[in-house]
């Protein structure tokens, strides 16, 4: 009765078959891998806890970066492709500030105050760079077709990366070590690296502050109004441009802080360090439902934990050598899976298909 051609039916069939095959494959890998790993008992409980703690600290950094993606998307419906580079600028400014503090000896006598200052400095620099970027490369393109600001953002991303490469060279900078922050703390009988705890605590503190700003201040209310409807908001006397700039600045400040925290864990800074965490934080934002601030936090944590536990839990016992090399692939596959099967994310409200 329908005049569907054979090739059409074939593609329909292939599409459905492929999607189901993909789902089943992923579920099989996860289930079988987990079963085999747990039954083999290769890892002790302490190791698992260690994985999870690493995951949480890594995830809280992703969450901080993801906030910027989510907030900008919420207001402009635009993926700020250069956000990963903003994170990188934060790491660099934190690095130079911390090195200076270390050379004066201040850092080792007052590690927490020194760290706080480094973070604030990084936040300031990142926020100002982001505001400049918004003014030069994004604002004139508001209202153009969607592809145009995205490509401009890709341009910004390259510009920032290679400007920093030009400024500071292609090498990797080793972060100064702060003696006071070395070693473990004992929490509930578990030895945990001090840095990791510091990272998690500061990240959560920052997120709490941001949440307060967005939910309870006048500016936050204006932001939410603009994200609902720009035109109506401007009719209500809200300065939309100022709100947008503030959003960029806030998101960038979070990313800048994340840059310092990231460098605290990994101890190195380089011009290309922004790309991978950037994409992963975007994944986290999508995972939590883009445009949704608590979602970004949850998404970041889930991604961090999965990435840290995943290789050992799912991949190792199904015969994959050195599964840690595929750590990044786990994040990317998750990204594709979410876009495919639950585009609105875990806590999602908005749907990506109509993006």
């Amino acid at each position: 009765m329908m005049r569907t051609s054979f090739s059409e039916r074939l593609t329909d069939w292939a599409v459905n078959g492929f999607l189901w095959g993909f789902r089943i494959l992923i579920v099989l890998i996860v289930v079988i891998g987990t079963f085999l790993t747990i039954s083999s008992g290769k890892y002790t409980n302490e190791q698992w806890i260690d994985f999870i703690v690493s995951g949480i600290s890594q995830g809280s950094i992703y969450a901080l970066i993801a906030l910027g993606y989510t907030m900008v998307y919420g207001i402009l419906r635009m993926i700020n492709f250069a956000h990963g580079e903003i994170f990188m600028t934060g790491a660099f400014s934190g690095y130079f500030f911390a090195t200076w503090l270390t050379s004066t000896g201040f850092m080792n006598t007052n590690p927490y105050i020194g760290l706080t200052f480094s973070i604030i400095f990084a936040m300031l620099i990142s926020a100002s760079i982001a505001m400049l970027v918004e003014k030069i490369a994004y604002r004139p393109l508001r209202g153009a077709s969607r592809l145009v600001p995205l490509i401009s953002a890709i341009g910004v991303s390259f510009f920032l990366q290679y400007a920093f490469r030009g400024f500071f060279g292609p090498g990797v900078y080793a972060y100064p070590s702060i003696d006071a922050l070395d070693g473990d703390w004992n929490i509930f009988g578990i030895e945990i690296l001090k840095v990791k705890i510091i990272v998690v605590v500061s990240a959560f503190l920052m997120m709490a502050i941001l949440y307060y700003v967005v939910m309870f201040t006048k500016m936050g209310k204006a932001m939410r109004a603009v994200s609902e409807n720009k035109d109506v908001a401007s009719l209500m006397g809200i300065d939309v441009n100022r709100v947008i700039v503030t959003t960029f600045a806030l998101g960038a400040a979070m990313a800048g802080a994340a840059g310092v925290l990231y460098a605290l864990i990994f101890r190195q800074v380089s011009f290309y360090m922004g790309i991978v965490p950037g994409v992963k934080a975007f994944t986290a934002a999508v995972l939590g439902g883009i445009g949704n601030i608590p979602g970004a936090m949850v998404g970041g944590l889930v991604l961090g934990i999965l990435e840290s536990v995943g290789p050992a839990l799912f991949l190792e016992s199904i015969g994959i050598d050195r599964p840690y090399q595929l750590k990044d692939a786990i994040a990317y596959i998750m990204l594709v899976m979410i876009l495919l099967f639950r585009p609105s994310g875990i806590l999602g409200e908005r749907v990506s298909k109509k993006a």
Binding site: G166, I320, Q325, L340
Partner: protein
């Protein structure tokens, strides 16, 4: 009071902007690197030229944007002031550099840079900066003051001269290769890295004379071409094509392997560009993982032909290419399937993820048994026209009894032919039913579907055909390099391809080719520039989006439209007549 001096303040602002840009160039390392290349030998280096141009442009723009009064004096004062401010800011930068050790943070704030900026005269040099800045600003405002008729040929001449200077090393090498008179002439005109003073002088006269005579002639020639009878037009075209073909065939023999290699790389990127042009330019699907298809093509040919440890079949290149293209098409379908429903920005990130997954898998130890892991695949058999001797044992290349495409000079023909073939296919597809369906999807997916277009099938075909083009590019890349490493399949390659399309003009086939030449060819030829390639890409992408989002060579429809408007201005009576 402030209002009255508004134009001065404006000039200072623009001057400060110019100075900031100058400092940026210095800190990023461009000035230092570019100073190693002359524009005119012993007179002006590229680095100097850059700074002077910055000051001159800020002078020009300041003059143009000042609205108070257009008298010559205010114009000149504005321009000079802007240039002076630019120079002043640079001088301030030099002074700061002499007071604190900027190098602790900025790698390029080295003594060499400050010597360059001050012409090795220390503090006195800073004054020189002011003088030069003011002078350049003055020139900028003078340039503005000139009537259009003189300004245009003059700027064109300067730009041409600049271009000649950049490529003079190239011309020199090619001409010296010819020996005899050509070599002598080359040494007279071209220095090692720039024009000689005499060369610059001669070129200036020739180009200036040519441009002033030429203005208006091009229309006449077009007119006389149009007046030719149809047969005559065809003859002219055949002659033109024959000349072009002759140049294309003879080129690598004259120019040597370096230029041939550059052209091969341009061709490869043009092929990838034309492939992505189908998915992005025609169908509007932004793919940031396009390198994946290139990788599939490369790995397929590598695995099938390599005489190294990972070679599987040891078949000839010619048999492997169709398989490689089919494999990339299959991958196009596989990667296209899951992202069919994903739109816009999300698609960009999802495909980026795919590209990275492919790279990670190819380079992982997990699959190292098959793809060589980080060590890659080496020992790839070169294509051979003639009989290929039997495979003997691992690590021994098979002997080619005939013409072997051993180096860039031979692979040049392969790449050029493939690029032309692909451009032809793309051109035919563009004006076909399928091409229109793609464009409809790009413009409005829902409406396209409501007009009976099967989105799934049409989008998949865009992925599949785009992938096929990239796969062929990958296949040729493999034999050019002779080895494959997962690390050469970086995200940067995908971004390069996107940049090519954006700069050239989305959906425009000649635009893509132009984009490949501009973005890949030029940096390959100018080693100094290639160091800052991605920085310049970034700037280019932003500027293109701000100023010319349709690209350098926009697609046919838009051109036709422009023409249409010229011929008949819009006179429309909006009545429906039944």
């Amino acid at each position: 009071m402030i209002n009255k001096n508004n134009f001065l303040w404006n000039a200072i602002k623009l001057g400060l902007l110019g100075g900031t840009i100058g400092i940026f160039f210095s800190l990023v390392g461009m000035i230092e690197v570019f100073s190693k290349r002359d524009v005119i030998e012993n007179v002006i280096t590229l680095g100097d030229f850059m700074l002077l141009a910055t000051a001159a442009i800020s002078g020009f723009i300041a003059t143009r944007s000042q609205t108070n009064s257009k008298t010559i004096t205010t114009n000149l004062v504005t321009g000079t002031l802007a240039g002076l401010t630019t120079g002043g800011l640079l001088a301030l930068f030099v002074w700061v550099g002499s007071q604190i050790n900027l190098r602790a943070v900025f790698l390029n704030a080295s003594p060499v840079l400050f010597d360059l900026l001050t012409y090795k005269k220390g503090a006195n040099g800073a004054w020189l900066l002011l003088e030069y800045g003011a002078l350049a600003g003055l020139i900028g405002s003078l340039l503005f003051g000139l009537p259009e008729k003189t300004r245009k040929p003059l700027t064109n001449t300067i730009l041409f001269l600049f271009g000649m200077a950049l490529f003079s090393g190239l011309f020199r090498v090619v001409m010296i290769n010819q020996e005899g008179g050509a070599a002598k002439l080359a040494k007279f005109l071209f220095g090692q890295t720039g024009l000689t003073l005499s060369g610059a002088f001669i070129f200036f006269i020739i180009v200036a004379a040519f441009t002033s005579l030429w203005s208006g002639q091009s229309k006449k020639i077009q007119g006389s071409y149009a007046r030719l009878p149809k047969k005559g037009q065809i003859t002219v075209r055949v002659i033109l094509i024959a000349v072009l073909a002759f140049i294309a065939i003879a080129l690598p023999q004259i120019s040597g392997p370096f230029i041939a290699q550059v052209i091969v790389v341009v061709c490869l990127y043009a092929m990838m560009g034309l492939g992505l042009n189908i998915t992005l330019g025609f169908a509007g699907l932004l793919d940031l993982g396009f390198v994946a298809f290139f990788a599939v093509g490369a790995y397929t040919v590598g695995l099938l032909t390599s005489y190294g440890p990972f070679g599987l079949e040891h078949i000839s290149f010619w048999a492997a290419v169709p398989i490689a293209v089919l494999a990339s098409m299959l991958f196009g379908a596989i990667l296209g399937l899951p992202v069919l429903g994903v739109r816009g920005d999300y698609l960009a990130i999802a495909t980026l993820g795919f590209g990275e997954i492919i790279r990670l898998l190819a380079g992982s130890d997990f699959l190292a048994k098959y793809f060589g892991g980080p060590q890659g695949i080496i020992g790839i058999q070169k294509p051979c026209l003639g009989t290929l001797e039997q495979f003997v044992k691992i690590d021994v290349p098979r002997v080619c009894d005939g013409l072997e495409f051993a180096g860039p000079k031979e692979i040049y023909y392969l790449a050029l032919a493939s690029a032309i073939l692909i451009a032809f296919i793309a051109w035919r597809l563009q004006s076909s039913r399928l091409g229109r369906a793609w464009m409809a999807i790009r413009e409005d997916e829902d409406v396209a579907e409501a007009l009976g277009i099967n989105l799934i099938q049409t989008k998949l075909l865009a992925y599949v055909l785009g992938a096929a083009f990239a796969g062929l590019g990958g296949a040729i890349f493999t034999v050019l390099v002779g080895s494959i490493f997962a690390s050469s399949m970086q995200l940067n390659v995908s971004i390069n391809v996107v940049a090519i399309i954006i700069v050239g003009g989305m959906g425009s086939i000649p635009g893509v080719i132009l984009g490949a030449i501009a973005l890949i060819g030029l940096p390959e030829l100018l080693r100094e520039v290639s160091e800052f390639r991605y920085l310049l890409y970034g700037i280019t992408l932003i500027i293109m989006m701000l100023a010319k989002p349709e690209g350098l060579w926009p697609s046919q429809t838009i051109l036709r439209e422009l023409k249409h408007n010229e011929i008949m201005p819009d006179t429309e009576s909006p009545n429906i007549k039944a």
